[in-house]
Amino acid sequence: MTKNVKTSPASGQDAAAYYQPLFAPKTVAIVGASSTKEIIGNTFLRRIKDYGFKGDIYPIHPKADEIDGYKAYPSVADTPKPVDYCYIAVGAARVADVIASSKGRMKFAHVISSGFGEVSEGVELQNQLVQTAHDNNCRVIGPNSLGLYSPRGGITFVEESSKELGPVGVISQSGGLGTDIVARGQRRGVKFSGLVSVGNCADIGPTELLEFYLDDPQTKVIGAYLEQVDEGRKFFETLKASQGKKPVVILKGGRTAQGSRAAASHTGALAGNEQVWLALSKQTGCILADTLDDFLDILLAFQNLEPRDDRPSDRIALFGNGGGTSVLASDFYARLGLSIPPFDTKTVDALRELNLPPGTSIDNPIDAPVGTLRQDDGAIAEKIMDAMYAYSKPDALVMHLNMAAFRGRTPPSVMENLLKAAFRIQKRYPGQAHFLLALRSEGDPETEEIKRRFRQIALEASVPVYDELSNAAVALAAVKFYETFKRDHVKA
């Protein structure tokens, strides 16, 4: 632990402003770009240029006058304007000197270089790095970090990352996994307000970035991949004080690790990392995800849905084609504590009056074969959902389409009409039910292409799209957990 750490604004009240130069820098310096070949600093320069960074770029080089078309400077002390964000990728031993030579003109140093606290011989170097930074009024991200993805600032470390600014703010203690989170997340519709690969957390750690995201108006939901939180107490207290202000989803590595303490009591022998994180989740309302897929699915739900504090999502309705699929889903939802209650008589009567073809179930879960769903070119779905919403008033509806079963039997407009019918129902009954869509594909390229297009249409209507009913269930269980926490733990 480094002593004398200058911390960010204590209450988090000004955290959004404090980190503005990091997430939306006006000036970026790059240390570790070559004038003769492409090394990591050049790659970063090219990435932010292609990504559309609008501010000034200052390559730092002891001898070169120009790098990749930009005027180079011998040190950060020589740049025309002070530097908001400095990307540093040089040998570990030189990093502290780079910061010292800035003479206090560098706000955030993002240290990509490794060879610090992650190896025993680098521990002292890391302490020196932080001390030097603080002496020069500079804060450090990293070292041993992969980079920053900040659409609002035009900064990215991920190839082909989306330029769209979204509501999901992420902290990652693994750079590689951070790349996966962006690359995979955006393909399923997750839109980011930022992602920081925090590396060794020598100076700025998960708690401080949590404070930022809690305060940041752009961020609606927070995700964190964590391996080790040295300031566990402060992390807990920050989460607890936030009173579930924003959903926080944690993917925690190393939860099953056995405690290394030699226990002298029953209690000591029973306590492990897993118990502590479960406790933290229950006391603060943050959600623990088990896998990367679950993590992204849950973030996608919170990005698009508006959690209710007064009515946790417990009563779920399922509607789609596939009898066996519905039965299996009923079991899976029950295991996650989500109920799929039978409809009341009014709903059943209303559905019966629709005279749906034989083979269509008129109770929850509604199994409606393609033959039913293609009636009136898909408009039938609106009547079915209307009956559900008018009388049974589910807390959430998951519509699932086995897309392969439609292909060849219906014109493409039918599936699209089904989606549009669902969107209209959502508008007609505002705040009634969370609406999630499972677009089930057998993997055929043509189906996948339709799915990709529908996913786009759905996301524009703030509808999260999942591969299977089980993915939607995991997301809904997380929403329910958060809503229940808010209802039971947060005083109005």
Partner: protein
């Protein structure tokens, strides 16, 4: 009356890494947790006089740093009906090999708790998160099934209730299988006094490394800490 801090300092001064049972129970009492009425007596001869004020039946337990598992060593005798039986029990104990070779601090004579269900309440100082509080049902539930719930201190009342609700054996507390129910309010009260904002674990955060209240006997109306073990933190070099 000695303060918790005094008792801990005294134990440290004696070179102890844990509080003896009597001191541990005094500590619990200071924080409002009910413990059985008890006395500490030196030996069999002093027992009859010292135990005279207690309500029989009583239990006798040997007090020694050298004996970790009192029952295994033969150092616990329950259901003693009068002062003579107490005297005989202590005399018998003192002659047992495991007790004879140990340094005995005395004998704890205490009233028997009203019948009820056995629970365990624990505490632990986590290096990252600070004090944790634990609850579980006693016996095989804790030892074999590891059916326990943890929370980070300080807990609120709703946390205490949710801890009990998440135990797999929660139904037993409500009186399954013809048993009498255990008072949820009484357990919650103990959890708050141990793990709450002004509770023992928060107030003595620097001194308590691990704690076991085992068993906590809970009847329909009350919860009594029948045994308590407090392991002290490693003393900081000053």
């Amino acid at each position: 009356m000695t303060t918790p801090q005094d008792a801990i300092s005294a134990a440290r001064k004696d070179g102890r890494s844990a509080l003896d049972e009597a001191t541990g129970k005094q500590l619990l009492e200071t924080f409002g947790v009910t413990v059985p009425q008890s006395i500490v007596t030196k030996d069999a001869d002093s027992a009859a006089k010292d135990a005279g004020g207690l309500k029989f039946p009583v239990v006798v337990k040997v007090m020694s740093q050298d004996i970790l598992h009192k029952s295994d060593a033969g150092g616990v005798k329950v259901g003693l009906q009068n002062a003579d039986e107490v005297k005989d029990a202590i005399a018998t104990m003192a002659a047992l090999p495991a007790i004879k070779k140990a340094t005995v601090d005395g004998y704890l004579v205490e009233e028997m708790a009203p019948a009820g269900q056995e629970l365990v309440v624990g505490g632990l100082k986590d290096p990252q998160f600070g004090p944790l509080v634990m609850v579980g049902l006693g016996g095989i539930f804790v030892e074999v099934l590891k059916d326990v719930a943890f929370r980070i201190c300080p807990i609120e009342e709703i946390d205490a209730r949710e801890m009990l609700a998440e135990l797999k054996g929660a139904a037993l507390l409500k009186g399954a299988r013809g048993q009498k129910p255990a008072s949820e309010d009484a357990i919650v009260d103990v959890l708050m006094k141990v793990g709450g904002d002004n509770g023992l674990l928060m107030q003595l955060e620097d001194d308590i490394a691990e704690a076991d209240i085992n068993p906590l006997i809970v009847s329909e109306t009350s919860a009594v800490a029948v045994d308590a073990r407090f392991i002290l933190t490693e003393q900081k070099s000053s």
